[in-house]
């Protein structure tokens, strides 16, 4: 090893693990982020991967920082290649500052010698007991470089492998010791210096991804019935709820298709359960018929769409914000709906929880629009507050003569459920009378249409206001929605401009009444979206008549990085 200093990193380090599917990159990501958080660092991680089970080239970004970080960066400080091809896979992101750390056989001649540190991971692993230990060696190497105390990693490994054979635990501890040896050597020689600030309070924070937050939120919201058909990236939500189904009393049924999944969810709500259908755009296309049914029979329903790029099969494992207008217009006929779009991991929890109350209260379908990027990003957050949104059940005990679609002053008909009370609960997908029976009374038709549409006015009182970030006296307003929240926010912080503000929407339909006021105050407005047609910009124009001045769009299947967004914002702001 050469002895000159290769690099020093302060405040924020970006580590990229790159290799084939099936090599255990996710295991390294999981072990490393947990350990780093437990030792007091802020961590963020996200993955991009191919639609295949083995092979290909995938990469995982881990940001470790002295400050809270929740958005992806393009920059690579430390690149850990796990297989040949890794370097070329991330070539565009490699700069002169990037240090490569790993086995020569994984990067070969692809990399300039002086920026590469050859660490014989598999050789060390073999000495410990076999190639399976190379992940632990890699975790320890990075943990050591980041000055994680040995005790923290050892304790984590004991916890992680609890229940396994003692020899396996011992070998992992040995693998960790060997990984630390390498890192100590690098640190001691001064070749690699990483100095980040630890914060004790972070040790107590929780580290979760969007999927976990969404599933936890659904449970907190009383979800006890999930019907789905597997489709990336939404499947993970169903898998997680299935794993916890016994504990929380949830029926998780894999349907024969999304048509069935949607109709099951509606059937479950009819019988008083709280149903969720989780899917992606293509699966939702099949649910559209059922969505219209929910609109007509005024059934509550919660639909989670984990967005990925379309049309058709598109890029199955990548990200996009492409289903907003689809969700808005889906379903034949006219009926109100609510569309929520979490921007953060906390939002995934609180909005999923709220969705069930809203659906129940207003008897409308409620969408939760996430995307592959948000679902599969992890970062630490202080906690989740279970008391913030109390569970409110809105169905009533029926009396003899109950009319499901009673025309009321307030607009909402009290929702009965079968078997609870003496009344009969009658629903019809045809136009119906107050009792729920088929009608072709065209005057009654007008009343029923008005009743359904009036709910849009009623639910305005619960519309979530957009989040405003920045100076009150702004000249330029950046507008975003859903998963772009943190990337936009960090990009703006880095630009440090004084007259730019950011307006983020986590409820995208209906729009909050203050929307236009915010927009009109700006001299210039910029919409930022992870799609090709500025769908939210169009929605704003449709609802308010306001035209956004500029667009920053991205639709290659990847989320915005902070740097990329910063550059594109800069060129507009100048």
């Amino acid at each position: 090893m050469k002895d000159h200093v290769l690099s020093r990193f302060q405040e924020d380090v970006s580590i990229v693990l790159c290799g084939k599917a099936g090599q255990g990159i996710q295991t390294v990501e999981h072990m490393l982020t947990q350990t780093l958080k437990l030792s007091g660092y802020h961590v963020f991680s996200t993955q991009e991967y191919m639609s295949r089970i083995r092979g290909g080239t995938n990469s995982t970004l881990i940001r470790v920082s002295s400050n809270r970080v929740s958005a992806p960066v393009n920059r690579i400080d430390l690149l850990i290649p796990f297989s040949p091809g890794a370097v070329s896979h991330v070539r565009k992101r490699i700069s002169t500052e990037t240090i490569l750390l790993g086995e020569k056989k994984a990067y070969g001649d692809e990399y300039q010698e002086e920026k590469a540190i050859d660490v014989p991971l598999s050789e060390i692993a073999s000495e410990v007991g076999g190639p399976i230990y190379s992940n632990t060696v890699a975790v320890a190497l990075l943990a050591g470089l980041l000055k994680v105390e040995r005790g923290v990693l050892d304790q984590y490994l004991r916890h992680h492998f609890a229940g396994k054979d003692e020899t396996i635990i011992q070998k992992n501890l040995e693998a960790a010791r060997r990984g630390y040896e390498v890192s100590n050597e690098l640190t001691r020689s001064g070749r690699l210096q990483i100095d980040l600030i630890k914060h004790t309070e972070i040790k107590d924070e929780i580290l979760i991804d969007g999927v976990e937050a969404l599933a936890m939120g659904a449970i907190a919201g009383g979800c006890n019935f999930l019907s789905f058909y597997p489709m990336s990236p939404s499947t993970a939500v169903a898998v997680l709820l299935a794993e916890h189904s016994k504990e929380f009393g949830i029926i998780v049924e894999q349907a024969e298709d999304e048509i069935s999944a949607m109709n099951m969810g509606i059937g479950a709500w009819y019988a008083g359960a709280r149903g969720l259908a989780s899917t992606s755009g293509g699966g939702f296309a099949l649910m559209v018929e059922g969505l219209s049914l929910a609109g007509m029979i005024e059934s509550p329903m919660v639909v989670h769409i984990g967005q990925r790029p379309g049309p058709a099969t598109g890029l199955p494992t990548r990200t996009e914000q492409g289903e907003l207008l689809f969700a808005l217009y889906a379903g034949h006929g006219e009926f109100p709906r609510i569309i929520l779009a979490p921007g953060t991991i906390e939002d995934c929890f609180y909005l999923a929880q709220k969705a069930f109350n809203l659906a129940d209260q207003y008897q409308v379908p409620v969408f939760i629009l996430t995307d592959q990027y948000l679902l599969e990003s992890h970062y630490n957050i202080p906690s989740l507050d279970l008391e913030r949104t109390p569970l409110m059940k809105h169905f009533v005990e029926t009396k003899r003569g109950y009319k499901r679609y009673q025309l009321t002053e307030a607009g909402l008909s009290p929702r009965g459920i079968p078997g609870f009370g003496e009344g009969l609960v009658v629903l019809d997908s045809d136009e119906h009378d107050e009792e729920g029976h088929i009608t072709e009374d065209l005057d009654l038709r007008i009343k029923m249409v008005n009743k359904r549409l009036k709910k849009l006015d009623l639910l305005m009182k619960d519309v979530l206001p957009p989040v405003f970030v920045g100076p009150e006296n702004y000249e330029i307003l950046i507008v975003g929605w859903g998963s772009t929240y943190h990337a936009i926010r960090e990009a703006l912080e880095r630009l440090g401009t004084k007259d730019v503000a950011f307006l983020h929407f986590k409820q995208v339909y209906p729009l909050h009444p203050n929307t236009l006021t915010h927009l009109k105050k700006a001299k210039k407005t910029v919409i930022v979206e992870n799609n090709g047609t500025a769908q939210f910009g169009r929605l704003i124009r449709l609802e308010t008549g306001f035209n956004m001045d500029r667009e920053i769009l991205k639709y290659n299947g990847l989320p915005f990085s902070v740097e990329e967004l910063g550059e594109r914002l800069k060129s507009i702001l100048e």
């Binding site: 947990q34 437990l38 984590y156 916890h159 040790k203 107590d204 924070e205 929780i206 580290l207 976990e212 936890m216 449970i219 907190a220 919201g221 006890n224 019935f225 019907s227 189904s245 016994k246 504990e247 929380f248 009393g249 949830i250 029926i251 349907a255 024969e256 298709d257 048509i259 069935s260 999944a261 109709n263 099951m264 969810g265 509606i266 059937g267 479950a268 009819y270 019988a271 008083g272 359960a273 709280r274 149903g275 018929e289 049914l293 029979i297 989740l384 059940k393 169905f395 079968p418 078997g419 609870f420 009969l424 609960v425 009658v426 629903l427 019809d428 997908s429 729920g436 029976h437 088929i438």
Partner: protein, 287 residues
């Protein structure tokens, strides 16, 4: 018990005079009465078509949903509240055409529901096109040279899927139809009752007389627990057998869910266990 408990006060029935649906309606009401089912505990799910309007003509909780989609709805209702008596009642086009995939997988799930299919071998409400069960050669304004596809055989398909109860009835015989419906409702698990019925307006081939001449009742020598025998009987097309073809007792869909292992309470009575959720969230602190 009031015999009239299932009667509606004033209704305008949308069926043609002489329609087989009337006989099925009567048989079903009698069956429900004799089984002492309470209308408040009864949910009938239907799709779209003339048959699917049936539940509007007797007192019950009613979910008249989309064409072909009744089975997923019925399955979920029973799963969400096993205390309810759930019947899925629709026509041959709805159940075997538009809803074919749900029919297959509904049988595989085996919810404790009764699936009554009004099978008149024609589409009535859309004015006389072929249905999946139309016989070969049946001429319609669309199938002008006659239907050339093999007729869909719901009985044989249900037996092949291991359905827990498979029967065929004929609407012209109210007494036998009622008996079969009673058996089906009393049966634990998915029960198919395919009821042959004439369409007096659009099916001039399969009339009351045709069904009388082309059906016969399975006698006591038929062993409904013998799957191969049941399949043989289901494959007979010369004369269509009537009766219970096949019985295959097994646990119902809703019985398999862990949510009902500790308690049989319907889901609507439940609230999430926030203490456990809090523990799960806490576990994400790391150790």
């Amino acid at each position: 018990m009031d015999m009239k408990r299932f009667d509606m006060e004033e209704i305008d029935i949308a069926w043609c005079p002489g329609c087989g649906n009337f006989a099925i309606l009567n048989a079903l009401k009698q069956a429900l009465y004799e089984l002492e089912v309470k209308p408040e505990k009864l949910v009938v799910v239907s799709g779209i078509g003339q048959a699917a309007k049936a539940p509007h003509y007797y007192r019950c909780n009613l979910f008249n949903g989309l064409h072909g989609r009744s089975l997923p709805v019925a399955t979920a209702i029973k799963a969400a509240n096993p205390e309810l008596v759930v019947i899925d009642e629709s026509g041959d086009g709805c159940m075997y055409g538009e809803g074919g995939n749900h029919f297959i997988h509904g049988i595989r799930r085996n919810p404790d529901i009764t699936n009554i299919v009004h099978n008149n071998m024609v589409y009535g409400l859309t004015k006389g096109q072929a249905s999946p069960t139309s016989l070969q050669g049946f001429k319609t304004p669309v199938q002008r040279n006659g239907v050339f596809q093999e007729a869909f055989n719901p009985i044989a398909l249900a037996i092949s899927l291991g359905a827990s109860f498979v029967a065929r009835a004929f609407a012209g015989d109210t007494s036998q139809t009622k008996k079969m419906i009673k058996k089906a409702i009393s049966h634990k698990g998915y029960a198919l009752v395919d009821i042959l019925q004439p369409c007096v307006t659009y099916n001039k081939l399969n009339t009351y007389q045709w069904f009388k001449a082309n059906t016969y009742y399975l006698d006591t020598s038929h062993d409904p627990y013998d799957r191969m025998e049941a399949f043989k009987k289901a494959s007979e097309m010369e004369k269509l057998p009537l009766g219970v073809f096949y019985l295959n007792p097994k646990p119902a869909f809703e019985e398999r869910w862990s949510v009902y292992q500790g308690s049989r309470d319907p889901l609507y009575t439940r609230t999430p266990d926030l203490t456990k959720l809090s523990e799960w969230i806490d576990s994400k602190r790391g150790m």
